[in-house]
Amino acid sequence: MTRKQKRLAVIGGGMSFIIIAVFLVMFAFSQSVAYFFMPADLATANLQPGTRIRLGGLVEAGSVKRGQGSTVSFTVTDGSATVPVSYTGILPDLFREGQGVVTEGSFDAATHAFVADSVLAKHDENYMPKEVADRLKKDGVWEDGTGSGMAPAKGEGTPEAAKDAKGQVVGSTTP
């Protein structure tokens, strides 16, 4: 082979690998990306049952019920709408009523209930996942550091709003 042919072979091989990779990425995006919703969005979202989404909001006070074994049910609210959620497994350390939560899962085709397979929480006393905080602040339901409304009261004199902690995912994030 001449130098030119060799170079063509290398470039051709490289390009085909890159093209495969691009298709793979696009396919994976279409398969495994979960969109974030708040309860009020769901009315207009027109979701198919079984579509994986992330559902965020506040855990409604008084809604947490322990069922059989380690199944827990609770209601996620954003002030205007609510969605009942069921989850089997261990809840994060900081899962509390009246505080923010993000769950990932899908709507069951038969029962129309939201079945979560992971519950995400932050490992911090200022317990408010970012997506939820952004939206609630926009809607005026919750404010940073005021301790009013449904927000947790903050330790006195904390100058910085949130020293964020690792989002804790509990549940089977399929390996």
Partner: protein, 662 residues
């Protein structure tokens, strides 16, 4: 007083950085030896000053001086001493100090050990290092000053985030930063060489030890971080494809590619332009990682800061350095001459394949990490790109690399015989398949893909053995002669074999832990028994315990096999008193390379508790393999040809080639 000295030293370091940024470059341009020598002295002075500054911050932590805001926010007088030390970098300001300290440490190393590097190149390298130091010194002094005082001083601190109070955290950041920041040297070498417009095999020889050292530490840092997340966060996973993990993983992938392409450049003078580009890209990814982690755009345990001005500042640093380096590259690269020729099937060819796969995978990870951020900025839509995406794309792209890795070292330079290489390794491939089968049978069950994965891991391990086997010419020569030949092999060949072996071990660990681990979530009352991984666990009840700055409920489990008690394990829920923050401390029992992982959930009505039990077969292989890779890195680093500063026979003539002025 001591704190003020630290602050002052940092300001002095800034002044020194300005001098070192300018004088050596001018000196290199004018061939003025005394001006170039400023680079060496200045870098050492800078290291001394930053070290003094860092030490004074550490002192404030050790004596719990809560009049320093940073200490007050992240420490507590009752905290154990080791966490007072590690608390220094367990927060935004302190971790930037550590970043800077390691950066100037590397500059000082170049200054001390770079004796056989031509003076002009060395001066330029040190100047580029000083530019980076300057940027980060400004960042710390203007936006993240750790020496800010509080008046009046509070009596007690707010405590360090409890999940950071762990031995793993004490050593994870320094190791990670040694890797992350170590790539700055490669970057500086690339930029300095582009400034001089002169790059050859000798350049690759000078850069390779730094790449190797940085890579080795980064491997250790990532493995340590992964193990820390595994046992401290209490939900049994070891890798989450969390953007912050990706931020450290991308420089690792690019650095691995750089390590291999520098090899081609050193031996064959080929792939010059590509290697320089990779050196720039690797450190750019380190900077990007720093931005992602430090700017607060991500929610993560690492994102301490949410001050937007910091994010913008780091973004500017990012833009200046990455943009500048790429512009310099675009301007100078066309003047570099193409190097040696090689056939597609050859050692060079296999290393090109390695680079292709590694960079494409890096790009994939980068896409998955940045896509949600970009989408949110552009459209406001919030999405999450999680493990399924990365497993599908990255996992599949890595397959050809794992298959090809053992072939590489067996191929000859320039042009090689793939059929011959196949013939030499088929025995080992067969053996690998067999061991994979046996392991699969032993774990009875598991999908076919896992079987393939195990075989692939064994193939990686045995391929490395095959490499040594043929280099020693075992089977053809008497055993003693072969052993002598092995002993005479260059250390870098040993390093390659060991690191590739480690890769195989890690693959086995990943496959086994992903495919064969079992998980039970059960409600247990005192005296009840649960089964996992062939062991039965009996819950014996709770005991209250009090730690230095926490209280805990410790659950005791007796583990028995076939009715005989073999071990016991404590798993607990802690409440850190200062922050009123609960954490889960998992109980982990090791059986050989496998682990039993017990984590406590919520108490139930009626005295029971939810318990989560995992059986994780061969999971220790994941980190064991990383450890072996690290050893491979160190062995390779001890190769005589790469030893930094060692007078080598080859260096002299090469130096003569480099010296004539253009």
């Amino acid at each position: 007083m001591i704190v003020e000295i630290g602050h002052f030293a940092l300001v002095l370091a800034l002044a020194t950085a300005i001098i070192v940024s300018v004088l050596p470059v001018v000196g290199a341009y004018r061939r003025d030896a005394s001006m170039m020598a400023v680079g060496t002295t200045g870098s050492l002075v800078m290291f001394g000053l930053v070290a003094l500054s860092f030490a004074s911050l550490t002192w404030a932590y050790v004596v719990s001086d809560f009049s320093v805001k940073n200490v007050w926010e992240n420490s507590h007088s009752l905290m154990p001493m080791i966490y007072k030390y590690s608390g220094v970098w367990g927060n935004h300001e302190g971790s930037m100090m550590l970043w800077l300290l390691i950066l100037v440490f590397f500059s000082a190393l170049v200054a001390v050990f770079g004796r056989n590097i031509p003076d002009t190149l060395k001066a330029n390298v040190l100047a580029v290092q000083a530019w980076i130091s300057l940027a980060f010194l400004l960042f710390i002094l203007l936006t993240s000053n750790p020496f800010t005082r509080l008046d009046p001083a509070p009596a007690e601190g707010q405590d360090l985030n409890p999940i950071l109070q762990d031995f793993g955290l004490a050593i994870h950041p320094p190791l990670l930063y040694l890797g992350y920041v170590g790539f700055s040297v490669c970057f500086s070498f690339a930029v300095a060489a582009l400034m001089e417009g002169r790059i050859d095999a000798a350049w690759a020889r000078w850069v390779r030890p730094w790449t190797l050292a940085a890579w080795t530490f980064l491997t250790a840092g990532i493995a340590m971080g992964s193990y820390w997340a595994y046992y401290e966060l209490g939900w049994g996973g070891w890798w989450f494809w969390d953007p912050v993990e990706n931020a450290s993983f991308m420089p690792w992938l690019a650095g691995t590619a750089l390590l291999h392409s520098a090899l081609v450049m050193e031996k064959r003078e080929a792939l010059k332009i590509w290697t320089v580009l990779l050196a720039i890209m690797t450190f750019s990814l380190s900077l990007l990682g720093t931005f992602l982690v430090r700017s607060g755009v991500l929610t993560s345990v690492h994102a301490f800061a949410t001050d937007p001005s910091r994010g913008i500042f780091i973004l500017c640093i990012l833009a200046i350095f990455i943009g500048g380096a790429f512009m310099l590259f675009a301007w100078r690269a066309p003047t570099l001459k193409a190097g040696g020729l090689f056939a597609p099937i050859s050692r060079e060819g296999s290393l090109v394949l390695n680079n292709l796969i590694l960079t494409v995978s890096t790009a994939t990870v980068l896409t998955g990490t940045l896509y949600p951020l970009v989408l949110e900025t552009l459209t406001g839509e919030k999405i999450s790109v999680g493990a399924p995406f990365f497993n599908m794309t990255f996992g599949l792209l890595m397959l050809p690399l794992l298959i090809a890795a053992p072939f590489g070292p067996l191929l000859a330079w320039k042009r090689a015989d793939l059929v011959g290489a196949f013939q030499r390794v088929w025995v080992f491939a067969g053996l690998a398949l067999l061991i994979g089968l046996v392991l699969w049978y032993m774990q009875n069950g598991g999908p076919v893909l896992a079987l393939f994965g195990l075989a692939l891991g064994c193939w990686g391990m045995l391929g490395a053995v095959a490499d040594l086997w043929y280099r020693g010419n075992f089977g053809k020569l008497p055993v003693m002669t072969s052993l002598r030949r092995l002993k005479g092999l260059p250390r870098s060949a040993w390093g390659t074999a060991i690191a590739h072996f480690g890769l195989g071990v890690t693959v086995i660990g990943i496959v086994a832990a992903s495919a064969f681990s079992t998980e039970h979530v059960v409600e247990m009352k005192q005296g009840q028994t649960a089964q996992s991984g062939g062991y039965s666990l009996t819950f014996d009840g709770f005991r209250e315990a009090v730690g230095p700055n926490f209280t805990e409920e410790r659950g005791h489990f007796t583990v028995s096999s076939g009715g005989v008690a073999v071990a016991d394990v404590w798993s607990s829920k802690r409440l850190y008193t200062a922050r009123r923050m609960p954490t889960t401390e998992a109980g982990i029992l090791t059986f050989g390379l496998s682990q039993l992982y017990v984590s406590l959930g919520d108490p139930m009505d009626g005295g029971g508790i939810v318990v989560r039990i995992w059986w994780k077969p061969l999971i220790l292989c994941i980190w064991g393999g990383c450890l072996i890779m690290m050893i491979g890195g160190f062995v390779s680093l001890s190769d005589r040809r790469l030893r930094v500063g060692a007078p080598s026979r080859k260096a002299k003539p090469v130096k003569a080639v480099m010296e004539p002025a253009e």
